[in-house]
Amino acid sequence: MLTLECPYCSIQADETELHAGGEAHLKRETVGSLDNDFEDYLFMRENPKGVHFERWRHVAGCGKWFHAARCTMTLEVFGTYSAQTLAPPKDLREKISTKRPGWTWRAFS
């Protein structure tokens, strides 16, 4: 059972307090988009062995959505951050680079 730090409460929350919300940083496609782009948005997800960015909600706590960067192999958590952003914070990306040199994920590295 994972623990993740809620960036709003600053508490180490058990997985049972949290709700998993799938991949982070999806760009919403909508009216006017091409079929392929819209299908990618609806269905195509990253499934990496390694660095991954996810959405979680502190549902049995403050109720806030946040983002987590973690390793799907080792379950190491690199950090959590606000969901109200379009990209992982720079310091977090640098921290991941020291632990997983050369990592990439979608457009990020």
């Binding site: 059972m1 623990t3 993740l4 919300g21 909508t30 549902v59 080792t74 190491e76 969901a83 109200q84």
Partner: protein, 1003 residues
């Protein structure tokens, strides 16, 4: 024969005698006995029958690894099967019965399976499955069913109580032997919060039995003093009778505390499941001795050498008067010395090694015990008991050199570290050639959230096999764990042990080395599941190379002991058959729990009423007292109908529909979700969430709305009321309140976080009553207060005011087609308001109605119901709800998805009404058949029923359904086959069956 010795028994209180029964036979034991030691003291060597061949089985071990000694215990609500007798502490009045035999333990008909054993080889079950079906059904299955299963299932609800307990600690130490104690000393002194758990009732593990000397003290004294020292530390918690059962991600662990199993009359919970979050976990779980594979190693009287020693030292019980010791290592000599010291006879120690001259070996020789080197057991003689052994050369093929009479055999194939907890969460193992065992690879531990290891193996569980090594290793482990957990105190000097010098063991996987098939087919690897050396070799010959496949094919290690004794021996046998090194064959996966734990402990307090808290409306008690036939809706209970007198539920439903249509009905609608959406951008937000336009709704007005997911599928519906410019109140379905609230929060927080909107779930703040029927206005006017006339409050208006003195908000909305007011009052006033309506309504024929009446009335009007007409694959367009989908809006959730070609496919089934030609009711979920068959030879379908009822208003069966090109086929008759082979015909009609102009509601 096994018996109680005159002396010794370090765990016994000889002064206290306890009575118990085994298979109805009365026996006596002492306080401190386990059921196992007490049975042996009464010469009860036969304790069960094996699973497949029903072979007689005696005890092999003295602890949690015991495969054979499983019994039914207790009676009635306290009955439980598969209780392990080696870990069951004796108590006064204990009643146990053995399992897996018929008609009796001594005479078992199933034992004939053993005679058929050559017809039941490895993969027996798999091989049977490919035989012709009739043979399987009429021959094999009845036979296997009769033979299968250990124990009986309880027939009553568990009468005991259980609880969960949460703990957060710096260092969890599992295992209270000298390793765990030493680790706790180090971690405790360093200042860490320590929880030390031990599965048995006693501290110190087997070191005192083995004569360990620590810091110049004997084992018992050191253990006692160390436990006292730990108890005096405020930061250390000790719990015995508590087994560390599993290690999970990020330092989560479970421990299983048995509170009253040893004292059933004691109050309180029976078991407590500890849910622990530890920064570091030390696994000081010791090691388990391995059996040797020789013919007849399953005959009662053959036991692990360490267990023979345990019974003698701890319980003053001897397995036999003459015990042959057979070994590949020095440790088993301790057993010979212990037995000799107790005045028992050890005719010979058979040591498979060609040479042996360690200090224990010398000591045995000096005591006059015969030591035969390079020898092994060709076969054990006896059936239900050992009567002797035939000796052979280990290096040979089993030619008998000599026969020795004995009544017990103590065997030792070496010791394997208990690596289960280390491995549960990904800790890796390495093969130790010198000890011929797998031990933790400290460089590849399970990793925590910070990417660093969080499990530290200690002592024998880490492959440290002598007292001296154990103490050094475990003290270091405790110190390292405390440091990693952030403790900074000094640990001081650790305890030191004194160990006799032991010579290396020699791996012996087959005894003798060149054993014939006949001998190999009598060598048991897995005692409980009856897997033999020959079975694993056959599996290898049949192509099974992976240990995971071999395990499933032969059922090796799949019994309730999960292969604690058999895994390494089975692995080595497989490796031998494949001519591969053991580490190349690999291990099977270790999964929690370490030993089976009770289902009650897993459930904890969550049973009965506490299993899931029930939501109750303010009127719940009235419903309960007035004939409510309850149905679960989400976490709520709603009245399906209110049954009066002798009528059936169906009759009650029909009465409620008729009365509501003709007079006055009351519905408790409090369970409907109520979400307040407020802020300058609330209108814009709701325009994105609903398919129709909400921003144009005028304050004081209501609008029915549909919500879709981003996939375009219909998700929820309900009436939205605009309270003021910035505020909307959104009704959701009963089951949808929490889900839709979360849906709104998700979009607000993660997509449109710059929009100024707040959402609050006020569902349980209000009681809501639907006052429905031609007399609805009359009853409200009688109660008096606000103006509810058609002019003041027209259809789809809402207004605040008072009625009968109650502050309320009245919505003029209708889900029945009748004149209808949905009235919300503060939840605290709900019951009083309900009572007032009933009293005032008496003269107007008021009757409460339930959810089924609601469903029938809405179906008569052709209104859809989320969950009936929708199933997660239905879009609003399928339901003819185009009118509720805005064409003016640029965007809303689901809009783009509804443009996808599959969604605009004209062959999507469409909603229609269905009227049976014979007036009957179409079965729920029935499919309409079409012409021809599909590629699987099944009848083609052209539609399905989504809602179906008997309409008392129309006096016939009505239904709604989705039908291919349905709206274009009005008047056409289609056929719905029923499960009984007949079918019902129905005419496609408009789904609005009743009052299509809405004359009844608009009055």
């Amino acid at each position: 024969m096994s018996t109680r010795l005159a002396t010794a028994g370090r765990l016994l209180d000889r002064a206290s005698t306890m009575e118990f029964t085994f298979n109805g036979k009365r026996m006596q034991g002492h306080e401190g006995d386990t059921l196992a030691s007490a049975l042996l003291a009464n010469d009860q060597m036969l304790v069960g029958r094996s699973f497949k061949y029903h072979r007689p089985r005696g005890l092999v071990a003295s602890g949690a690894e015991e495969p054979n000694g499983l019994v039914n215990m207790g009676a009635g609500a306290f009955f439980e099967p598969n209780q392990r007798i080696t870990t069951t502490e004796l108590f006064e009045g204990l009643a146990a019965e053995s399992q897996n035999h018929w008609p009796s333990l001594e005479f078992d008909v199933g034992a004939v399976n053993a005679k058929l054993s050559r017809f039941m080889p490895a993969g027996f079950y798999y091989k049977m499955f490919i035989h012709p079906r009739p043979l399987w059904k009429h021959v094999y299955e009845p036979f296997i069913r009769k033979a299968a299963g250990l124990g009986r299932a309880p027939t009553e609800m568990d009468g005991s109580s259980y609880e969960h307990f949460y703990a957060h600690v710096d260092v969890l130490i599992t295992g209270g032997g000298i390793a765990g104690l030493a680790a706790a000393l180090a971690a405790g002194r360093a200042g860490a919060d320590v929880l030390l758990v031990e599965q048995t009732a006693h501290w110190g593990g087997r070191a005192p039995v083995d004569g360990a000397q620590i810091d110049g003290l004997d084992g018992d004294t050191w253990v006692k003093e160390t436990v006292q020292a730990l108890e005096s530390m405020d930061n250390v918690t000790l719990r015995n009778r508590t087994m560390g059962t599993g290690v999970y991600d990020h330092g989560y662990a479970l421990a299983y505390e048995r509170l009253t199993d040893h004292a059933p009359d004691q109050d309180g919970p029976r078991h407590r499941l500890w849910r622990i979050r530890a920064r570091q976990i030390v696994t000081a779980t010791g090691s388990i001795e391995r059996p040797l594979s020789f013919a007849g190693n399953d005959i009662p009287g053959v036991m692990l050498a360490g267990a023979v020693r345990d019974y003698a030292v701890n319980f003053g019980v001897s397995l036999g008067d003459r015990t042959v010791v057979v070994t590949n290592n020095d440790d088993a000599y301790r057993t010979a010395i212990t037995l000799k010291d107790a005045g028992l006879d050890v005719p010979v120690i058979l040591d498979a090694r060609p040479t042996a001259d360690g200090s224990l070996v010398q000591q045995a020789r000096e005591m006059g015990i015969r030591v035969a080197l390079g020898k092994g057991i060709a076969h054990v003689n006896g059936a239900k008991r050992v009567t002797g052994v035939s000796i052979c050369l280990q290096a040979g093929e089993g030619s008998e050199i000599e026969e020795i009479a004995c009544d017990a055999v103590a065997m030792s194939g070496g010791w394997s570290p208990v690596v289960h907890l280390w491995s549960h969460c990904g800790g890796k193992l390495i093969w130790d050639d010198a000890q011929s065992h797998f031990r933790p690879d400290a460089s590849r531990p399970p990793l925590g959230a910070d990417g660093l290891g969080f499990v530290v193996p200690a002592g024998a569980a880490n492959g440290a096999m002598s007292t001296a090594e154990v103490l050094v290793d475990a003290f270091q482990a405790g110190a390292a764990a405390a440091k990693a957990a952030g403790a900074t105190g000094k640990t001081g000097r650790g305890p030191t042990g004194d160990t006799p010098k032991e010579e290396p063991m020699a791996p012996v996987w087959l005894m003798p080395q060149g054993a014939s098939y006949k001998l190999r087919s009598k060598m048991w690897l897995d005692y409980q599941n009856d897997v033999k050396v020959s079975d694993v070799q056959l599996a290898a010959r049949e192509g099974y190379e992976s240990v995971e496949h071999t395990k499933r094919y032969t059922t090796l290690g799949m019994a309730t002991d999960q292969g604690k004794l058999s895994n390494i021996n089975g692995l080595a046998t497989l490796a031998g058959a494949l001519n591969a090194p053991i580490p190349a064959v690999g291990t099977t996966t270790f999964r929690p729990p370490y030993t089976p734990i009770s289902m009650g402990a897993i459930g904890g307090e969550a049973r009965g009423e506490l299993f899931q808290p029930l939501h109750k409306t303010p009127m719940h008690d009235w419903h309960d007292a007035n004939g409510a036939d309850w149905e679960p809706v989400g976490h709520w209970r709603r009245a399906y109908a209110f049954v009066r007198g002798a009528e059936t539920v169906e009759q009650a439903v029909q009465r409620e529909v008729t009365n509501t249509r003709e007079n006055l009905g009351l519905l408790d609608a409090s369970t409907l979700g109520k979400l307040i959406v407020r802020g300058p951008d609330a209108g814009k937000f709701l325009d994105m969430l609903y398919t129709n336009m909400m921003s144009t709704l005028k304050p004081g007005r209501c609008r029915y709305g549909l919500m879709c997911t981003e996939n375009g599928f219909l998700s929820d519906d309900g009436v939205v009321a605009r309270i003021d410019d910035d505020t909307f109140l959104c009704h959701t379905t009963t089951g949808g309140a929490d889900r839709i609230y979360a849906h709104m929060e998700e979009w607000l927080q993660t997509e449109w976080w710059d929009w100024q909107v707040y959402v609050t779930n006020v569902t349980e703040q209000f009681a809501q009553v639907a006052v429905v029927g031609p007399n609805a206005r009359k009853v409200l006017e009688k109660l008096g207060g606000m103006d509810v006339s058609a002019e003041a409050l027209s259809f789809m208006d809402w207004a605040d005011g008072t009625i009968g003195g109650f502050d309320c908000r009245v919505y003029r909305i209708s889900f029945s087609g009748e004149l209808s007011f949905e009235i919300a009052v503060p939840a605290s006033q709900g019951r009083a308001f309900w009572d007032a309506l009933l009293e005032a309504g008496a003269e107007f024929g008021v009757m409460p109605y339930g959810t089924e009446c609601l469903h029938i009335m809405r179906a008569e009007k052709g209104f859809i119901m989320i969950g009936d007409e929708t199933d997660g694959t239905v879009i609003p367009q399928d339901l003819g709800l185009h009118w509720a989908i805005s064409k003016k809006k640029d965007d809303f959730l689901g809009k783009r998805a509804q443009e996808r070609d599959h969604m605009t496919d004209p062959t999507r089934w469409q909603l229609v009404g269905l009227e049976t030609t014979d007036g009957s009711v179409i079965p729920d979920g029935a499919y309409a058949v079409g012409e021809g068959v599909n590629e699987n030879g099944q009848r083609n379908t052209q539609g399905r029923v989504t809602s179906t009822y008997h309409s008392p208003t129309l006096g016939r069966g009505i239904a709604m359904g989705l039908v291919l090109h349905g709206p274009d086929r009005m008047g056409e008759v289609i056929e719905f086959p029923k499960v009984d082979g007949t079918s019902v015909k129905a005419k496609i009609v408009n789904p609005v069956f009743f009052d299509p102009e809405g004359e009844k509601q608009n009055v």
